[in-house]
């Protein structure tokens, strides 16, 4: 960790001229006192400088620090190794997704939202599509098979997201084996995603009205095999950390945030459940038919990093249970709403290059039905209209409540889309969790929140 800002509060501003000619620590006077920006050199030449003056050391961690979980900038005020103040600087990954969506059709919006929280793309898509469907008033018309596939894909995604949380969290605290195994196991799920959606990330698979296409042949078997393999491997991976005395030494009692703090700061997800409150939107406000699945809401009562780690471990097991139940529930049927004014007209099939339009559909629109061609053209270029109004849909993403507020003015484009991303809200807890602790424990606290900056900054 490099220190790049040291601030001295000088009793007599400008009195200390040491450092003024130091190539590594140029100093300058401000109304606050003399300030040195340090980006290298020998520490002794700096600390020796202001004799008898009160010093404030402000350390910038990030936005390019390997332990800050992405482009998060932590601004820490230190007293030795103790953090006296912690603030977050965000916005380094702001890409204007919400603004861009106002200039594309409703279906194209899926392609944007999937890129927000890039570790849980299917949750972004699901929240957006459920909100659009609510505006369209077709929530009850979504075919059962589509909802089941959505649940299955989301739960697989939850496992892959939690695996990354464990992998990067472990890595940031020095447990490199956890990282290797976590990413290895996540690869299994990404293979399933690639088979079903064609893409490993940024899937754009869940669409308003259903899902983009049905499961390919052999997908169900592959998913069953993957779940079996994951069960075995997850045990091996998590055994590296559960009851590991070094890991527990770094996590138990660290990043403490109790229920009152969580409520005030609007914290949801594993952080909230680590206080013992079994709040899970899949149970309390079910969507996509979650009321039909048998699973438990995992809680711990330790309010610390270790508790959140255990919750993620056990939630992966619950998610695998849901995936198996979803596989059992899969019945043949449509995967897109019957309304031809909403359903995407084309169907994809696997061509020689691995993807492509179905030859049957091309034949129909190109040589059999002029009306079908017009319909296809209108729906793809113009899109469907959504009646005016607004809707808010919240789902339980791996990180907590992922809310989507969609406003339609009656046109073919969203008037406004806003995402209440759980990472964004949960990051506010960094100060409460980390102040008064050690610098090294800030890393553990941030890792236990598991923020994804793509979702925070949007």
């Amino acid at each position: 960790m490099s220190t790049d800002h040291v601030t001295y509060e000088s009793a007599t501003p400008g009195s200390a001229d040491l450092g003024a000619h130091d190539a590594f620590a140029p100093g300058y006077d401000t109304t606050e006192g003399r300030i040195f920006n340090v980006s290298g050199g020998d520490w002794d030449t700096i600390t020796a400088a202001p004799d008898g003056e009160k010093e404030r050391i402000v350390v910038n961690m990030g936005p390019q620090h390997p332990s800050t979980h992405g482009v998060l900038r932590l601004i820490l005020e230190l007293d030795g190794e103790t953090v006296t103040e912690a603030r977050c600087g965000i916005g380094y990954l702001h890409t204007g997704i919400e603004k861009n969506m106002e200039f594309r059709s409703w279906v194209q919006g899926v392609t944007f939202v999937t890129r927000m929280d890039y570790l849980a793309p299917l949750f972004n898509e699901a929240a957006y599509c459920l909100a659009v469907e609510k505006l369209l008033g077709i929530t009850d018309d979504i075919p059962e098979r589509a909802s089941t596939i959505r649940v299955m894909m989301m739960e697989l995604n939850r496992v892959s997201s939690h695996l990354v949380a464990l992998a990067t969290g472990g890595m940031e605290l020095g447990a490199l084996s956890a990282m290797i195994y976590g990413f290895r196991d996540r690869e299994l799920i990404l293979d399933v995603f690639e088979m079903v959606t064609g893409l490993r990330m940024n899937n754009a698979y869940i669409r308003p009205g259903g899902v983009a296409q049905d499961l390919p042949d052999g997908a169900e078997e592959k998913i069953r095999d993957t779940v079996k393999l994951l069960r075995k491997r997850l045990k091996d991976t998590t055994n590296l950390l559960v009851d590991n005395s070094i890991w527990m030494g770094r996590t138990v009692g660290i990043g403490y945030l109790d229920l009152t703090g969580c409520m005030a700061l609007g914290i949801t997800g594993p952080v909230l459940r680590s206080t013992g409150l079994p709040h899970d939107l899949r149970k309390s406000q079910p969507y996509c038919g979650y009321e039909n699945y048998d699973f438990e809401v995992v809680t711990e009562t330790t309010c610390d990093v270790y508790g959140r780690f255990l919750i993620r471990v056990n939630e992966m097991e619950q998610s695998l249970r849901i995936v198996e139940q979803a596989l059992d529930r899969l019945k043949p049927g449509p995967v897109m709403v019957a309304d031809k004014k909403i359903a995407w007209p084309s169907k994809l099939s696997v061509g020689s290059d691995g993807q492509g339009n179905s030859a049957e559909h091309i034949r129909e629109i190109m040589s059999e039905s002029m009306e079908a061609l017009i319909h296809h053209f209108k729906l793809v270029t113009e899109g469907f209209k959504v009646p005016p109004g607004q809707a808010y849909v919240a789902i339980e993403s791996p990180r907590g409540e992922l809310g989507c507020h969609v406003v339609s003015s009656g046109g073919t484009r969203p008037y406004r889309v806003h995402f209440r991303d759980p990472s964004f809200t949960n990051l506010q807890a960094v100060a409460a969790m980390g102040e008064g602790g050690q610098v090294a424990d800030i890393i553990g606290a941030v890792a236990s929140i598991d923020p994804v900056m793509g979702g925070v900054d949007r």
Binding site: G96, G389, Y392, A394, G410, T425
Partner: protein
């Protein structure tokens, strides 16, 4: 307004009282003479769901009644605290007058019969055609105790974009209010440190407002030029 609504293309089911938001004329951006397609004569009014009258149905009435009683305890009549109530698509929205927002939020949080412990934050919507109420701040509240969710909407004008901050009541709104200030220019009075959060500190303008251009450059590909998204032919 009535003759406009008569020719409405899309009316939300179950909504009778409509509020005109905007009317778009023509199509594909074609205006005035030169249009031989006939589409220039199109009139497409844009209306949002209008105010609902009690009873609102289900637990909505319980919540509304509880709010009314609690506000009355503080000597604040429901009618002066709220502008209107809209029930649409199974969601209830309270349009709260900005001067009473903090009292309203406090009631939501503290009343045992309401207990909205969790605020899902605030975001903005910019309606340039809604004269005098161009900027809307939209809050969502969740009661874990009663398993209910409501929406609160506060309106303010472009010329006086001030709304009281509810950070003192719901600290979670800290970053959300900063984000709304950043993107919409709504000033949340009483916020502890209302600074930009996503855009650089010296950024001019508020990007999510409708009068702020999306930006972008034309892209040339194999001799053809594709304009940036906000300058393409629009069907909206």
């Amino acid at each position: 307004m009535t003759d406009m609504t008569a020719s409405l293309p899309v009316i939300p089911p179950g909504v009778t009282n409509l509020e005109l938001l905007d009317a778009r004329d023509g199509a594909f951006g074609v205006k005035g003479s030169g249009d031989t397609s006939g589409f220039g004569g199109l009139l497409d009014p844009r209306v949002m769901p209008g105010a609902s009258q009690a009873p609102f149905g289900g637990w909505f009435d319980e919540v509304a009644e509880e709010i009314e009683l609690s506000l009355a305890d503080q000597g604040l009549p429901f009618a002066s605290a709220t502008e209107k109530v809209v029930v649409d698509r199974g969601e209830i929205t309270f349009f709260v007058r900005r001067e009473h927002l903090v009292a309203f939020a406090r009631v939501l949080r503290d009343e045992p019969g309401l207990r909205f412990e969790m605020c899902s934050g605030v975001s903005g919507v910019h309606y340039p055609s809604d004269a005098g109420r161009e900027l809307h701040a939209v809050y969502h509240f969740l009661s874990i105790t009663h398993n209910r969710r409501i929406r609160v909407e506060v309106t303010t004008s472009d010329t006086d974009p001030h709304i009281p901050s509810i950070v003192a009541v719901y600290p979670t709104c800290d970053w959300h209010e900063r984000e709304t200030w950043d993107f919409f220019g709504i000033v949340f009075d009483g916020h502890p440190a209302l600074t930009r959060i996503a855009m650089p500190d010296d950024w001019p303008g508020h990007p999510q407002r409708k009068d702020y251009p999306l930006g972008g450059i034309p892209v040339e590909y194999k001799g053809a030029t594709i304009p940036p998204p906000d300058q393409r032919r629009s069907y909206n």
